[in-house]
C-alpha cells in the first residue's frame, strides 16, 4: 500500500518537474521571440549578432552535415536494396532513399549534429558566462542577456536548421545515387529522376517544418541549461551534458508527434 503510494508520488513528482521544465522552456522561447520583435537594442547591431550566430551554427556545420547525411544516404540505399533485390524491385531504391531522407533522416540527423555542435555550445557558453559573472555584467550595462545573447541564437537557429535540413536532403540523395551508380543499376541522371518522381512537395515541407521546431527546441534547451548553471566549472560540464541529452530526447519525442500528425492528416496522396 505504502509502496504503491510512494511509487505514485514519485511518478507525480517526475511529471511535475518535467512539466515545469517544459513551462520554463516555452517561457524562455516566448520571451526571446518577443524580444526579436520588440527589442530595446539597436536593430543593426541585433542583425549583426544574429548573422554572426547563423554563420557559426549554420554555415560552419555544412561540411559535417554533408559528410554524415551523404553516408546515411549510401546506407539507406544499401539497406533498401538488400530487401528490394529479393523482390526484384530495385527500381524502387531511389524512392526509398528519397522518402526516408526527406521525411525523416535529413531533419533528424541535422538536428543531432546541431545539438552536438551548437546546443552544447550554447549551454557551455552561457553557463561559463553565468559562472564568471559576465551575465551580471551585461545586465548592469543595460544589456538584457536574453535580448543580447539568447534572442539572436533563436533567430539564427530558426533560419539555419531548416536550411541545413534541406541541404542534408540533397546530400542524402546524392549518397543514395552513389550506390545506385556503383551497383550498376542506375545512371546518375536516372537515379535523380527516380528521386524526383517519387517525392511530393509535402515530403520536403514536412521535413522543413520539423527542422524549424527542432531548431527552436535545441536553442531553448541549450540556453535554458546555460542560464540555470550553478557555480563552478563542474556545473558548466553538467549543464552541457544535460543540454545534449535533453535536446536529443525532446527532438525524438517531437519527431514522433509530428510524424504521427502528418500521417493522420492524410500524408501522401
Amino acid at each position: 500500500m505504502s509502496a504503491t503510494f510512494q511509487f505514485l508520488s514519485g511518478v507525480g513528482g517526475i511529471a511535475e518537474a518535467s512539466l515545469s521544465y517544459l513551462g520554463g522552456l516555452s517561457q524562455l522561447t516566448g520571451r526571446s521571440l518577443l524580444l526579436l520583435v520588440a527589442s530595446p537594442l539597436k536593430p543593426a547591431r541585433r542583425l549583426q549578432r544574429a548573422s554572426r550566430q547563423a554563420m557559426i551554427v549554420g554555415v560552419r556545420a555544412i561540411p559535417i552535415v554533408s559528410l554524415i547525411t551523404f553516408f546515411v544516404g549510401v546506407i539507406m540505399a544499401l539497406q533498401g536494396a538488400y530487401e528490394l533485390r529479393q523482390l526484384g524491385a530495385m527500381q524502387l531504391v531511389p524512392a526509398l532513399v528519397a522518402i526516408s531522407i526527406t521525411r525523416e533522416l535529413g531533419p533528424l540527423i541535422t538536428a543531432v549534429v546541431v545539438i552536438g555542435r551548437s546546443g552544447s555550445a550554447f549551454a557551455a557558453e552561457i553557463g561559463t558566462m553565468r559562472v564568471t559573472e559576465e551575465l551580471d555584467a551585461l545586465q548592469t550595462m543595460a544589456l538584457d542577456p536574453l535580448a543580447f545573447l539568447v534572442a539572436p541564437k533563436f533567430l539564427a537557429m530558426a533560419v539555419m536548421v531548416p536550411c541545413l535540413a534541406v541541404w542534408a536532403d540533397l546530400m542524402g540523395v546524392l549518397g543514395g545515387s552513389l550506390f545506385g551508380v556503383a551497383s550498376g543499376n542506375f545512371t546518375l541522371m536516372g537515379f535523380l529522376i527516380g528521386t524526383r518522381d517519387s517525392l511530393v512537395v509535402s515530403d520536403v515541407v514536412s521535413g522543413i517544418i520539423k527542422s524549424l521546431v527542432f531548431g527552436l527546441v535545441i536553442t531553448a534547451v541549450g540556453c535554458q541549461e546555460g542560464l540555470s548553471t550553478g557555480g563552478g566549472a563542474e556545473e558548466v560540464g553538467k549543464a552541457t551534458t544535460s543540454a545534449v541529452v535533453i535536446s536529443i530526447l525532446m527532438v525524438i519525442l517531437i519527431d514522433v508527434v509530428f510524424t504521427a500528425l502528418f500521417y493522420l492528416t492524410g500524408g501522401r496522396s
Partner: protein, 273 residues
C-alpha cells in the same frame, strides 16, 4: 537628472531586507550615500556586503524596504526604468567579468556602441582615452584571458567608466591582488574620484584600502550595519565586533564566541515568522 539636488542623497536605503528563499541575508539596513562622496562598505566574508552591492545595482530585488538610487525606487522600477538607470551607473566586478569572446577594446566599446549614437571612429578614440585613464594604453587588441588579474580589473574599471557614469561601484577591487597591484587599484580609484568627482561605492574587506579611499565607511556584519562614520570615527569605534575586525582578531574558542560561531554558520536564519 534635474531633480537630484546636491543635498538629496544619490543612494538612499531604508529598512532593506533581502532573503534568498527563507534565509535572510540582510536584516533591515538603512543608510545614505551623498552626491560625490566615496563610501566603503567594509565586512568579512558572508557579512552580506556583496548582496548589498547586488541590490544597489539592481541585480537583486529587495525583499522588503526601499532602495532609492538617483530618485528611482528599485523595488518598484520597471525593467525599462532600470535599464535607463543602469546606463548611468558603472560596476567593476571582482573578477573583471569582461566578455571572454571579445577583446579588451571591444569590451569597453560595447556599452558605447549599444547605447549611444557615436560614430565607430569616435568610440575608438573614447576606448583609447578610457584605457589610458586606467593605465592600459595599447591593450585594445588583447583578449581578457591574456591579461593578468590586476590588468583585468583595470580593464573592467575602464568599461565601468565608459559611459561616464554618475555612480561607480567597485566589488572587491583589491581582492586576489598582490599589495603593489592592489595599491595601484586604490590609486586608480582616488584618481577617478578627483577627475570626475562622481559618487563611488566600494565593497571590500581590505582595511588599508578602505582607510585610504573612503570618505565614510560602513561596517556590515551578519546582515546588520555595525557602524557608519568617517575614517577617524571608525578607527576610534569601540564596538567589540568592529574592534575585532579592525584589530584582525580571530574568532576565539570561548563559550560566548561559540555562540557567535554558530551565528556565523546559521547566519540569516533569523527570519520573522
Amino acid at each position: 537628472m534635474g531633480t537630484t539636488a546636491l543635498d538629496t542623497p544619490e543612494i538612499s536605503v531604508r529598512g532593506l531586507k533581502v532573503r534568498y528563499g527563507d534565509r535572510e541575508v540582510l536584516h533591515g539596513i538603512s543608510f545614505d550615500v551623498r552626491h560625490g562622496e566615496t563610501v566603503v562598505i567594509l565586512g568579512g566574508s558572508g557579512s552580506g556586503k556583496s548582496t548589498l552591492l547586488r541590490t544597489l545595482v539592481g541585480l537583486q530585488k529587495p525583499s522588503e524596504g526601499e532602495v532609492w538610487v538617483r530618485g528611482l525606487d528599485l523595488a518598484r522600477a520597471s525593467e525599462r526604468e532600470m535599464d535607463e538607470l543602469r546606463k548611468k551607473i558603472g560596476l567593476s566586478f571582482q573578477g573583471g567579468a569582461l566578455i571572454g569572446s571579445m577583446s579588451v577594446g571591444e569590451n569597453i566599446a560595447l556599452p558605447l556602441l549599444e547605447h549611444s549614437n557615436l560614430a565607430p571612429s569616435t568610440v575608438e578614440v573614447m576606448v583609447r582615452i578610457k584605457l589610458e585613464q586606467v593605465g592600459l594604453s595599447g591593450f585594445e587588441k588583447y583578449m581578457p584571458s591574456e591579461l593578468s588579474g590586476g590588468m583585468r580589473k583595470r580593464a573592467a574599471v575602464a568599461r565601468a567608466i565608459a559611459m561616464d557614469p554618475e555612480i561607480l561601484f567597485f566589488d572587491e577591487p583589491s581582492a586576489g591582488l598582490d599589495p603593489i597591484t592592489a595599491a595601484g587599484i586604490d590609486n586608480l580609484i582616488l584618481d577617478l574620484k578627483k577627475a570626475y568627482s562622481i559618487t563611488t561605492v566600494v565593497v571590500t574587506h581590505e582595511l588599508a584600502s578602505a582607510f585610504l579611499i573612503a570618505d565614510r565607511i560602513l561596517v556590515i556584519d551578519h546582515g546588520n550595519i555595525l557602524a557608519i562614520g568617517t575614517v577617524p570615527q571608525i578607527q576610534q569605534c569601540t564596538n567589540p565586533r568592529v574592534r575585532q575586525f579592525l584589530d584582525r582578531v580571530a574568532e576565539s574558542g570561548d563559550d560566548d564566541d561559540k555562540v557567535d560561531h554558530l551565528r556565523m554558520y546559521t547566519e540569516g536564519i533569523r527570519v520573522k515568522p
